[in-house]
């Protein structure tokens, strides 16, 4: 084996045609660069929650259950408070902690506001479960009320150059003492915090009211906290879970007499089962209510893996296209080598050496390109990917594997193609491929069309659905709705504030509510006794003021809306779905009932019916909804202001000034509802952007491929074309003939790719309750684009090679 000869010959062959080599390496390098980034992205997604020490043994307890009548099902990431205490009694438990998200309240250090800080209450054992490095201070005192641990990022931001330990911060009138600075949760975690306060602070917040605290601490029916447990290695989780549920049921039974009083989120009759969920699986596989942060889903990983495979495939096909574009020279060389003693495998080895040298060079260049492209991708995906994350034998092995695979796929067909030459051709000085190789070459170009069309249809499908969601009329006018968060700071001044805001030029209407579309709703079981047996159904409840209908611009189908003058505190407005679910025939003459916090029946008169509107993201079907009048003593979180133009700075500035006047200098936290609703699809939008980039890339590569195939086709039909030219057959006829030869492979690629892509889109659309499929028009546009590119490529090559030159049979001879 003369390895050196193969390498030398391959290098010389590459240097001979510098443009060919440069195009080949550039295409491959760009593809490899993109693939590396996607692989980093996949690695990042798969690495969620594995950055914490001992994460393999950390589990989150989740709650599942169903009410005896089957009306209400629970599938929640939250658990009751006492569960953690029970966990401690098991020998399998190494450490356990509860985590309670704090309400969005202003945190101040001296006069500075710690804006958008993620505040949690947790047990002192939090740092035993999540073993984060303590940079300053000690977490030992986290059991004492008012003690708080902050992250390094928060410390760097607000305590520049000083030691924050021992400093005091203020939240909602309570002073917190900073006892330690910890490192941040790893970026790829299912939750992040800025401050962790001791859970005992809650007692302080509730003024040490034992009555309330006891109810909370012993309530097995209220889902209020996230519970995490670190189990001992080799613990039998199946048995652990079984025993835990058995004991929990006993405790539940024992605490029932005290359980009569429940909070709004309690599920009195539902039997709960607690499950151990590995934290590493949360990001991709959890589909529970009350998640701490938006999660991903395996479909995205599938899409990214498919994109990587397709990119590697398309760049390998591109290599084949370029290598075999004008094959006679290479066939001649192969025949010469064979005549001088080479066997087919020698030729194949020569081609593979060339392919491996190209793919190895492209991998090196690809790594450089990836490094250059990563900042843009980080910006797009809001990540902090680094090329240095490729580490360890496994990752390096993966990069080498990619290089190897590209070499094999790229070199495979040319190796077969060129090594198959019969040296007898040298006697006839004819270096042409046989019919089967020609057909195979056609199928390769069909493969390229398949990939291009697949990515295009997939992109079009996702684009159309996301566009549909953002453009779809949700049953209310979502444009120009400014939402003020933490509006409870206005407290008793709401009416005055509202009147003053209403007088601002550019403000259309103002309302207040406990929830806004896209946010969580409180759920109550309502029953309708007008039919036999009575009908029960869970209804989401939103407390709103009487201007909600006009502000949101809802459609009132029947009756009238809530009236502030008549104080319809016992009235309710239902949406059409609620009326349908409760099977109410004449809603305006009826009432529905629910149990109040003392388990006493409470009646609501149905005052009106509003048309369904999407108050939840579009991936959920509209559920029954009830709007109840907000009373003065009711807590509300949001103020909704409809403005004429969201870009009108003067109106927004006037709203801010009015807020400052009434809010005791609490900072204004506001957003436009349309933006917030679109945020629900941010991950999908990012995926779409990535897909668009890759589709554009594959389009660019395909154009190169089409041009190469066109020149290959002309060379293959060289004799026929020159004869036709000599016989005076018009160019358009010859060109049509060539387009026909190319067209059938385009047709094969297109017809196979469309159903495949539509099938994938269909799977993705299962995530949405309201969907729109790729339109026929869009499909036709894509087909025209791909076919048009093919026709343009062959016409260009025909013009360049045949039309411009004296391409006659006699001159060719």
């Amino acid at each position: 084996m003369n390895t050196l000869h193969y390498i030398r010959a391959a290098v010389k062959s590459l240097l001979r045609d510098k443009l060919y080599s440069a195009t080949n390496i550039a295409g491959l390098a760009l593809g490899i660069g993109l693939s590396i980034i996607i692989l980093l992205l996949i690695k990042y997604e798969l690495s969620y929650d594995s950055g914490i020490k001992g994460s393999k043994n950390i589990y989150r307890l989740t709650t599942r259950g169903e009410s005896p009548d089957g009306i209400q099902t629970v599938s929640n990431a939250l658990t009751p408070l006492p569960l953690s205490g029970l966990l401690r009694t098991f020998h399998e438990t190494e450490a356990t902690t509860r985590l309670i998200p704090g309400a969005n309240k202003l945190i101040k250090y001296n006069s500075a506001s710690l804006k958008q800080s993620r505040f949690f209450f947790a047990d002192p054992s939090f740092f035993n479960v999540f073993e984060l490095r303590i940079i300053k201070g000690s977490v030992e005192q986290l059991n004492k009320p008012g003690n708080v641990v902050i992250t390094k990022t928060l410390a760097d931001k607000y305590f520049k150059g000083t030691n924050p330990v021992g400093k005091k911060i203020n939240r909602d009138g309570i002073k917190y003492n900073i006892i330690a600075v910890s490192e941040d949760m790893p970026e790829a975690s299912h939750f992040h915090f800025d401050l962790i306060a001791s859970i005992s602070t809650i007692e302080k917040i509730l003024n040490y009211n034992r009555k309330i605290l006891d109810k909370l601490e012993h309530n097995w029916k209220s889902l209020v906290c996230y519970t995490y447990v670190k189990v001992k290695p080799k613990a039998d989780l199946r048995i652990f879970e079984k025993h835990l549920n058995k004991k929990a049921r006993l405790f539940e039974e024992r605490s029932k007499p005290e359980n009569k009083t429940t909070t709004a989120t309690s599920q009195v009759n539902t039997t709960f089962h607690f499950h151990l969920q590995p934290i590493r699986s949360i990001h991709l596989h959890s589909k529970l209510d009350s998640e701490l942060e938006p999660l991903s889903n395996p479909f995205r990983i599938l899409i990214f893996i498919s994109i990587t495979i397709f990119i590697l495939l398309i760049i390998s096909i591109n290599f084949i296209n370029i290598t075999t574009a004008e094959p006679s020279k290479r066939l001649r060389d192969a025949a010469i080598r064979k005549l001088n003693g080479a066997r087919s495998y020698h030729i194949a080895l020569q081609i593979f050496t060339e392919a491996f040298i190209i793919s190895a060079s492209a991998t090196i260049l690809g790594l450089v390109l990836a490094e250059l492209m990563i900042p843009a991708f980080n910006k797009l995906f809001n990540l902090s990917l680094k090329l240095s994350q490729i580490q360890g034998l496994q990752d390096i092995g993966m990069v080498i594997f990619i290089t190897f695979i590209i070499g094999i796929i790229s070199g495979g067909y040319p190796a077969k193609f060129f090594s198959g030459i019969d040296p007898v051709n040298i006697f006839r000085n004819r270096f042409k491929l046989n019919k089967s190789s020609f057909i195979m070459r056609g199928f390769i170009i069909a493969g390229q069309v398949f990939v291009l069309m697949f990515l295009s249809v997939l992109t079009a499908g996702i684009w159309q659905q996301l566009n549909f969601i953002s453009e779809r009329y949700p049953g209310f006018n979502k444009k120009n709705l400014l939402i003020i968060d933490r509006a409870y700071t206005i407290k008793q001044n709401y009416e005055d504030f509202k009147q003053e805001i209403k007088h601002i030029k550019g403000v259309v209407n103002v309302s207040a509510a406990t929830s806004v579309p896209g946010e969580g709703y409180m759920k109550n079981i309502f029953s309708y006794r007008g039919i036999n047996p009575p009908k029960k159904t869970p209804v989401n409840v939103n407390f709103v003021d009487c201007d909600y209908l006009q502000t949101m611009q809802l459609r009132l189908m029947k009756g009238s809306f809530l009236n502030c003058e008549t104080k319809d505190s016992m009235g309710i407005i239902l949406n059409s779905t609620a009326i349908k679910e409760l099977e109410i025939k004449k809603p305006l003459e009826e009432h529905i009932e629910t149990a109040n916090s003392q388990n006493k029946s409470r009646k609501f008169n149905i005052l009106g019916v509003v048309g369904d509107y999407n108050y939840e993201p579009l991936d959920k079907k509209t559920e029954p909804l009830g709007l109840v009048l907000l009373c003065k003593h009711n807590f509300f979180r949001y103020i909704i202001i409809r403005v004429e133009d969201r870009k009108d700075k003067r109106t927004l500035s006037a709203i801010r000034n009015t807020w400052n006047k009434y809010s005791d200098n609490e900072p204004l936290e506001s957003f436009f509802l349309a933006d917030r609703l679109n945020d629900n699809y941010k991950e999908d939008s990012r995926m779409l952007t990535a897909l668009m980039i890759f589709t554009l890339f594959s389009f660019f590569i395909s154009v190169l491929g089409f041009i190469s195939y066109a020149s290959f086709l002309i060379e293959y039909k060289d004799k026929k074309i020159s004869l036709m030219k000599t016989l005076g057959i018009p160019d358009n006829y010859i060109l049509r003939n060539l387009i026909g030869s190319f067209g059938k492979y385009i047709l094969i690629g297109v017809s196979l790719s469309i159903p495949t892509a539509l099938m994938i889109i269909r799977i993705w659309l299962r995530n949405f309750a309201y969907t729109e499929h790729v339109s026929l028009l869009n499909l036709l546009i894509l087909i025209t684009l791909v076919a048009g590119t093919g026709i343009a490529s062959i016409s260009y090559q025909y013009f360049r090679i045949v039309f411009k030159k004296n391409y006659h049979y006699l001159t060719k001879r």
Binding site: N2, H5, R16, I336, L339, N340, G341, A342, I426
Partner: protein, 226 residues
């Protein structure tokens, strides 16, 4: 060296059969210097490709170095060919991106000669033919005669028993032609069997034996009469 019995070669294209060779019986002995002559299309090149173990006859028998080739498979023919038969054509068929040295080196590589051996053999041959100064040149830097000389050196570098040449001087002027013919004579004097196809009576006159062909038939040769 080469013996054929009733060799027939038929080309089939689109259901049309064209007989290229009909009942060819020739016997070429070791050390012969033979020319196959005849007009274009008479079957010279086809015969050369068959006796060079490149192409297969449709029927008939072929013996090379007393081995019956008739039923040998492609890879067995390739094995027999390797190092035993050299080829020269009208075109030099050099690989453009390889130097003179590297082009000549090819057959030795495929015969697994060691690098040092290859250098010794090639440099010796280049010195003998006063071409050592061209060693590192590329084909594009040579004139046609030099290119043809390189192709001859490549064909004979393994000291094959048989050298087949198809119109080897077809692209050369008279001076180049004579130089190439002199080289062939020299090689033949060293004991190499040479068979060359030509339509030039001038060249066939220079060989010991001439096989004349017409329309796929051998019409005469110095040994066999049909």
């Amino acid at each position: 060296m080469i013996r054929t019995q009733n060799i027939v070669k038929i080309f089939y294209t689109n259901e049309i059969a064209k007989t290229a060779l009909s009942n060819i019986n020739i016997n070429i002995k070791k050390g012969d210097y033979v020319s196959i002559s005849g007009p274009s299309g008479c079957g010279k090149t086809t015969l050369l490709s068959i006796i060079g173990l490149i192409d297969k006859q449709t029927s008939g028998e072929l013996f090379f170095m007393d081995i019956d080739i008739t039923k040998k498979k492609d890879h067995q023919r390739a094995k027999l060919r390797k190092g035993n038969i050299g080829f020269v054509f009208k075109d030099a068929f050099l690989i453009d991106e390889l130097t003179v040295f590297e082009n000549i080196e090819l057959p030795l590589i495929y015969l697994n000669y060691k690098r040092k051996e290859r250098i010794d053999i090639i440099e010796k041959e280049l010195l003998r033919h006063k071409m050592i100064h061209l060693k590192n040149r590329y084909p594009g830097q040579l004139n046609e005669e030099q290119q043809q000389m390189v192709s001859i050196l490549r064909a004979v570098i393994t000291k094959p028993s048989l050298l087949l040449a198809d119109e080897p001087t077809g692209r050369l002027d008279s001076k180049g032609r004579d130089n190439i013919l002199r080289t062939f004579s020299g090689l033949n004097e060293e004991g190499m069997t040479i068979v060359l196809a030509t339509h030039s009576p001038y060249i066939s006159d220079q060989t010991q034996i001439t096989i004349k062909m017409f329309d796929g038939h051998v019409v005469t040769d110095n040994n066999i009469t049909i």
